[in-house]
């Protein structure tokens, strides 16, 4: 009996310090990721003089805008303790529907929202399976992913046709004051995303749900709505990324989403969120997305063969994970000698 009490009090003590620790951990994570980006871009100058320029920074930010939008949705889903594997399929669906149904013809102003609504419907279908039929998120979104990509394949008979609507070309190819339009978009999206996740009631509900479902229910969080919405938002984001890619490349392919599955998760995790849900913030995720894109462009610019590039990419994810480990922050804190109670 006494030993049980000991064990209980031990867990209690650990939980007490966690809340205090969590706040600085995420801020530190986000800052560390951004610092890593800057260091990497500056260091790339050593490799080749054409790198590390302002132009390269703009290119990285333009390319990162896809991943930032995508990992916002993925981040919300992960925050509630889920995972969305259907993103690549929905990206493709959004892109393919945009070029085949709209193309550069008229009606983009009402057809684009309609396509996004279809993508949202896919997210809703996933959510129905997860919330009401109790299928694990991992499996359910994998199933919708297989179904959606199969449907996109059948719909286009294997070869998507059509071009991009003008409005998307303007969004992705335009520029203002020498800065590409996607960079403005990225900044606005990042701020709005951060506000939604960290400064709204909905955002707080998501954290509550991801931390402790039962406690959230007792506290009056509308569980069903808050569980369903992230999947819908995530799918709409993915559909929009499909449109952005269409604007960027002026066309769609059936494999356009394939390279975004793992980065969308990696950006969230590198940004310091737990894959198990309940913590993390969008600033870190934005940093993670930019870091991953920086790594990708630097490696591509060095001109290594594909295999070595891939190895380095994997290695950098590993190093980032190792550097951002929780113990490391504890050790750093130990060095600074700040006294902590109960730790």
């Amino acid at each position: 009996m006494t030993s049980q009490v000991d064990v209980m009090s031990k867990f209690q003590a650990e939980q007490d310090t966690r809340k205090a620790r969590r706040i600085d951990r995420h801020t530190v994570s986000a800052i560390a990721v951004f610092v890593l980006c800057v260091v990497l871009i500056l260091a790339s100058r050593l490799v080749s003089p054409s790198l590390g320029s302002w132009q390269q920074v703009l290119t990285v930010l333009t390319l990162a805008s896809f991943l930032v939008v995508l990992s916002f949705g993925q981040g919300l889903v992960i925050l509630t303790g889920g995972l969305d594997l259907s993103l690549p399929a929905v990206i493709t669906l959004g892109g393919v529907l945009t070029t085949t149904w709209i193309g550069n013809g008229p009606g983009a102003w009402y057809m684009l929202p309609f396509v996004l609504a279809i993508c949202g419907g896919v997210g809703l279908a996933s959510a129905i399976g997860i919330v009401w039929l109790k299928v694990p998120p991992f499996i359910m979104t994998m199933a919708t992913s297989i179904i959606v990509s199969s449907a996109a394949l059948g719909l286009t008979n294997g070869t998507p046709r059509g071009a991009s609507p003008d409005v998307l070309l303007l969004l992705m190819k335009g520029s203002w004051l020498g800065i590409p339009a996607p960079v403005y978009f990225l900044v606005i999206f990042a701020v709005v995303g951060w506000i939604v996740q960290s400064r709204t009631v909905f955002g707080r509900y998501l954290y509550a749900l991801g931390t402790n479902r039962d406690a959230a229910r007792i506290a009056g969080v509308p569980i069903t709505l808050v569980s369903v919405l992230p999947y819908v938002i995530s799918a709409v984001c993915a559909g929009f990324v499909g449109m952005m890619l269409v604007g960027y490349a002026n066309g769609a392919t059936l494999r356009m989403g394939d390279n975004y599955m793992l980065p969308s998760i990696a950006a969230v995790v590198i940004g310091g969120s737990s894959i198990l849900g309940g913590n993390g913030n969008f600033a870190g995720t934005v940093g993670g997305a930019i870091l991953l894109t920086t790594v990708g462009t630097v490696i591509a610019a060095i001109g290594l063969e594909q295999g070595l590039r891939t190895i380095i990419e994997g290695g950098i994810i590993l190093v980032a994970l190792l550097l951002l480990r929780e113990e490391l922050f504890e050790r750093l804190r130990g060095l600074s000698g700040k006294p902590r109670s109960g730790g």
Binding site: V7, L83, L85, G129, L133, K134, V135, P136, F138, I139, M140, M142, A143, T144, S145, I146, I147, S149, S150, A151, L153, G154, N157, G158, L262, I265, A266, V269, I270, S274, I275, L276, E305, Q306, G307, L308, R309, T310, I311, I312, E313, G314, G315, I317, L318, L321, L322, R325, E327
Partner: protein, 332 residues
């Protein structure tokens, strides 16, 4: 405490035959038999030994990969490196073919070693350094894919003739040899399941804290699960190479989704602690059979995915509903 010791043997005695039927493996076995009946009615040659051998040969790499994944999933983990290990071993087999039966043995040893090393790295990252399993194995998967691309940058190469002919053949004209490898994995699993490590696997997956408090070394169990899984992926890569007779640096990619689908279809809980390897093997076989059935039913191969997805969801929904009806606690 007293009520526990009373109820346990009673429940087990009552539930034995019923349990077999409502377990994940039982449900997916019934599903497989039903699908095979449909297949036989669509395609009269389905009952011939050569068609069956083909089917087994097609299913074996996925079945073995899913079996490996099950080990990690049971310990409440995820292992994405399955795709990387299969690509890597496949490429090794195609670029460095070893002729003859002895050569095949050498190749097999290399595949198992490569898988084991990758598994050990995963185990080190996840069990010892406590990184998040999805993120860490994602990184090792990418590194393995990169290594595969360095060894062979485009599809090509030739797997040793002995491997590609003998391992896809039939023993005594009826028994598919590749099936024997699956059988070997199953036998190894049945033995492993009864060892301390095997019991620990379920305990850690069900409740890590309770397992650790009752004296199980969580680190050791997790590490062993990753190493074992890695070696089994190596075997899957070996069998895939026998099957395709050529190398492709991206050959492992389709296995990522399908392996998890097979595990889930086979009734293993993705939150760990419940399920088993045999269900996953049957799940993999069912997914591959479904493709054949749809093809012989005249469905365009474009739409195969729609059916695979729907079957996956239905299997899980009915599996848990059926289990609830027969009184088995799904959350246990």
């Amino acid at each position: 405490m007293a009520s526990l010791t009373h109820s346990t043997p009673h429940r087990m005695r009552r539930a034995q035959p019923m349990k077999l039927l409502t377990s994940g493996a039982g449900i997916v076995f019934v599903l497989y038999v039903l699908l095979y009946a449909i297949y036989a009615s669509l395609q009269p040659s389905a009952l011939s030994s050569s068609t069956f051998t083909n089917l087994v040969n097609n299913s074996v790499p996925l079945a073995i990969a899913a079996a490996g994944e099950t080990l990690v999933v049971l310990s409440r983990g995820f292992d994405l490196s399955v795709a990387g290990v299969i690509s890597l071993t496949n490429v090794l087999m195609a670029v460095y073919p070893q002729e003859g039966p002895f050569g095949a043995l050498v190749s097999l040893a290399i595949c198992l070693a490569v898988g084991g090393i990758v598994g050990a790295v995963n185990g080190w990252l996840v069990a010892i350094l406590r990184l998040q399993a999805i993120a860490a194995t994602l990184a090792t998967m990418i590194v393995c894919q990169g290594l595969a691309l360095v060894i062979l940058d485009a599809p090509g190469g030739m797997v040793a003739d002995w491997v590609s002919y003998e391992l896809t053949d039939r023993l005594f004209g009826v028994l598919p040899i590749s099936g024997l490898f699956v059988l070997a994995v199953v036998l190894a699993w049945l033995v492993f399941k009864r060892t301390n490590l095997g019991l620990g696997l379920y305990a850690v997956g069900a409740d890590e804290q309770a397992a650790s408090l009752s004296g199980i070394s969580v680190i050791k169990v997790r590490f062993a699960a990753f190493v074992g899984a890695g070696m089994i992926y190596g075997l899957a890569g070996f069998m895939l190479s026998a099957q395709t007779a050529t190398g492709n640096p991206n050959s492992g990619t389709p296995f990522l989704m399908l392996a998890f689908a097979a595990v889930a279809l086979g009734g293993t809980s993705l939150s760990g602690g419940r399920g088993g390897l045999i269900g996953s093997i049957l799940g993999a076989a069912t997914l591959m059979l479904l493709q054949k059935v749809l093809f012989s039913g005249g469905v365009s191969s474009f739409y195969t995915g729609i059916f695979q997805g729907v079957v996956l969801v239905l299997a899980i929904v009915f599996g848990s509903a059926f289990a609830r009806l027969t009184g088995r606690r799904t959350t246990a």
